[in-house]
């Protein structure tokens, strides 16, 4: 029994739907989904073309966390909590930018909700615009690499610390590169009462400029370069990190993606690559990632 698809309209090789399918499988379909406006919603919820096999609601771009909180409250009030867990699927833009207020409220009130941030590192549904979770140096349509600018100059927002800062019981990152780990985390989250935040790195073939055959490779390289540390916090304590054997230089990750390609010829490209390498090194040090 599948809980999502087929027949949805995601680009071939899309990371979002890989993540979504695994989350739903981990929960054995016993869940209520609240989804923000964005790629996942658009590819899966056209009228009479729904890919969902679980109860699903889409309201707006920036309110999926609050809608989920409402579902949770209703299930409590109506004594129907045994029906299933409440899960949010929201893009990085919906999470870190426009919906951070409702997300903060939901985490702060510690609703029994699993919040999944599907991090494809830009507003992909509208065509690859810069979000708070877009990494440094990435070429987006709202901050394109040009004569002057090398793509995004700011840094990727640290949503993990923001989530941990809310004092919620469980925060983790995951990636489509390691689906067993992803599923384990979702299962674990489902066992814990209260608000859970899981941020999943989900390659976007179109926005990143990769091929479906590179979906898993790019996700794996993000981990292997330490640009996307795979970590787990329980009750505010870092409890688990996925160790990296032979950490790779960030160039290996950057080179295969069109969104970073300009860095190898842009006058400021080397500086950006140095900054990215420093971010990776700092991650490795902070989380003790190297074996």
């Amino acid at each position: 029994m599948s809980f999502f698809g087929p027949g949805h309209g995601a680009c071939p090789g899309c990371g979002l739907t890989i993540a979504t399918r695994n989350v739903l499988e981990a929960l054995e379909g016993k869940c209520f989904v609240s989804n923000s406006t964005g790629c996942l919603e658009i590819v899966s919820s056209q009228y009479e073309r729904s890919a969902w096999g679980v109860p699903y609601i889409h309201s707006l771009f920036e309110n999926a966390a609050a809608v989920a909180a409402g579902i949770e409250l209703a299930l409590k009030a109506l004594k129907r909590t045994d029906e299933g867990k409440v899960v949010v699927f929201a893009g990085d833009g919906a999470t870190a930018d426009i919906g951070i207020g409702p997300l903060s409220g939901m985490l702060d009130r510690n609703h029994d909700v699993i919040y999944i941030c599907l991090d494809n590192e830009a507003y992909q549904n509208t065509g690859n615009q810069q979000s708070g979770l877009t990494p440094t140096g990435s070429n987006t349509t709202t901050m394109p690499a040009g004569e002057l600018m090398p793509g995004k100059t700011g840094r990727k927002k640290d949503m993990i610390s923001i989530a941990v800062g809310h004092g919620i019981p469980y925060v983790a990152t995951a990636t489509v590169a390691f689906y067993a780990d992803l599923r384990r985390k979702v299962k674990k989250a489902a066992e814990i009462e209260g608000a859970k935040y899981i941020q999943i790195h989900t390659p976007c073939v179109t926005g990143w400029g990769i091929d479906g055959k590179q979906t898993l490779e790019s996700a794996r390289l993000a981990f292997e370069t330490a640009l996307y540390p795979i970590i787990e916090y329980e009750n505010g304590e870092l409890t688990k990190v996925r160790k990296i054997k032979d950490r790779k230089p960030v160039e290996e990750y950057l080179r295969i993606q069109r969104r970073f390609r300009h860095l190898f010829k842009h006058p400021k490209g080397q500086e950006i690559i140095r900054i990215l390498q420093k971010i990776a090194d700092d991650n490795a040090a902070k989380f003790n990632l190297d074996v």
Binding site: E41, Q46, Y47, L60, N63, G70, G101, R109
Partner: protein, 391 residues
């Protein structure tokens, strides 16, 4: 049981009796006391199985109710002004999703300049949103409208958000004698909410699908149809209510002396009491004036308004808001409703941002219009002499 209570309490008491499942709260003057009173009831265990939640914003509060309502809960919130505007994206969405959320809006002016005081600028912004909107004149009316709002909103023929508008401070903070309902009465009128469809793992439906051009328009037609059906369902609910409580609220638009009135004055909300007083006095003086109290603003009761205004030579609308760049919003609606009639038409925006409307002002405006001393069209009420400068 008749008791002198303040407007906000009359609402909270009534909400409690409607046994909502989820209440989302966020403070804003002069609404705050409604959710504070509900919070007190919740804290004292008087709200049964209701979940009361303090949201992080009005936007969040409304969104919480979208989720709760879709999952099958009876839902309530109250807000006004900036809070209503912040909620607006969600409320319009809830209308399209056909979620019967009940909101009390304690009408307040909009910024800028910031003002916590009463006018109708806030609710007018939501005119086209697909929410049922009524305006009340007294706190008894406000009290009675809450069960009625749930009843109509949750009616399977309607399934729309319902917004009860009551004037901020003028009603919310006024002490008035209110015949407080008791539980049996409300129970006999308002059964528990039985949603025709709701989110459940037993039947995993998709809510909030997007509609491509080949079917979007049809969804908007169903929204329009539901609104139009609400006209009948509201009337029916008034009649049921009258049978149970003995109080009949008289329908969407209530005319007084409109049959032979040369001038009919149209008013909505708490100002109506004073306008009625002045109209009655002028009647006693032999002047042919009448009153049309507009209760339902959306759906707009065209039939009732046309009927009440068909004999009038002059129509005067008291506005509590402005559609900047045109005229007062109620006048715009009234004029369009009476299309084909050719009375003289006047409208006056009064009491903006809580400006006191003295009786003399009403007397003068009605008197001047009656005697033909003012030009037709839109006017502001009493405005001080001022000079426009940069700093």
């Amino acid at each position: 049981m008749k008791k002198v209570v303040r407007g906000f309490y009359s609402i909270a008491h009534s909400v409690k009796l409607c046994k909502p499942n989820v209440i989302a709260a966020y403070p804003i003057t002069p609404q705050t006391e409604i959710v504070e009173n509900l919070a007190k009831m919740y804290s004292n265990g008087e709200l049964g199985d209701c979940e009361y939640v303090t949201a992080e914003s009005e936007f969040g509060a409304a969104s919480i109710l979208v989720g709760a309502s879709a999952a099958g809960a009876r839902t309530f919130t109250a807000t006004c002004s900036q809070g209503l505007v912040l909620m607006s994206e969600v409320l319009l969405n809830a209308a399209g999703m056909r979620l019967p959320i009940v909101i009390v809006n304690t009408n307040r002016a909009l910024s800028a300049p910031l003002s916590i005081w009463n006018d109708h600028q806030d609710s007018m912004l939501l005119r086209d949103g697909g929410l049922i909107q009524i305006h009340v004149e007294t706190n008894q009316e406000a009290h009675d409208m809450v069960p009625l709002a749930f009843k109509v909103a949750e009616n399977p023929r309607v399934m729309l958000p319902f917004m009860v508008n009551m004037d901020g401070f003028k009603l919310t903070h006024a002490y008035e004698p209110v015949d407080l309902l008791d539980q049996e009465i409300v129970d006999s009128f308002l059964p528990p909410y039985e949603p025709p469809v709701y989110m459940t793992t037993k039947n995993p439906l998709t809510f909030g699908s997007y509609a491509p051009p080949h079917c979007y328009a049809e969804f908007r037609v169903t929204l329009q149809n539901a609104m139009m059906r609400a006209l009948d369902e509201i009337e029916k609910a008034y009649k049921d209510w009258a049978e149970i409580t003995g109080r009949y609220w008289g329908g969407h638009a209530v005319g007084e002396y409109t049959d032979d009135a040369e001038l009919v004055v149209v008013s909505m909300g708490s100002l109506t009491g004073m306008v009625r007083d002045v109209v009655n006095e002028m009647r006693r003086e032999g002047k042919k004036v009448g009153l049309l109290k507009l209760r339902t603003f959306r759906p707009f009761p065209v039939k009732e308004v046309r009927n009440a205004l068909k004999n009038a030579n002059k129509i005067l609308v008291f506005e509590r808001a402005v559609s900047f760049g045109y005229e007062g919003p109620v006048g715009i609606e009234v004029k369009s409703a009476i299309f084909g009639f050719t009375p003289e038409f006047y409208s006056f925006a009064v009491g903006l941002g809580g400006r006191d409307v003295p009786r003399e002002e009403i007397v003068k405006i009605i008197g001047d219009v009656y005697e033909g001393k003012v030009e037709q069209g839109f006017h502001f009420g009493t405005i001080k002499e001022f000079e426009e400068v940069v700093v």
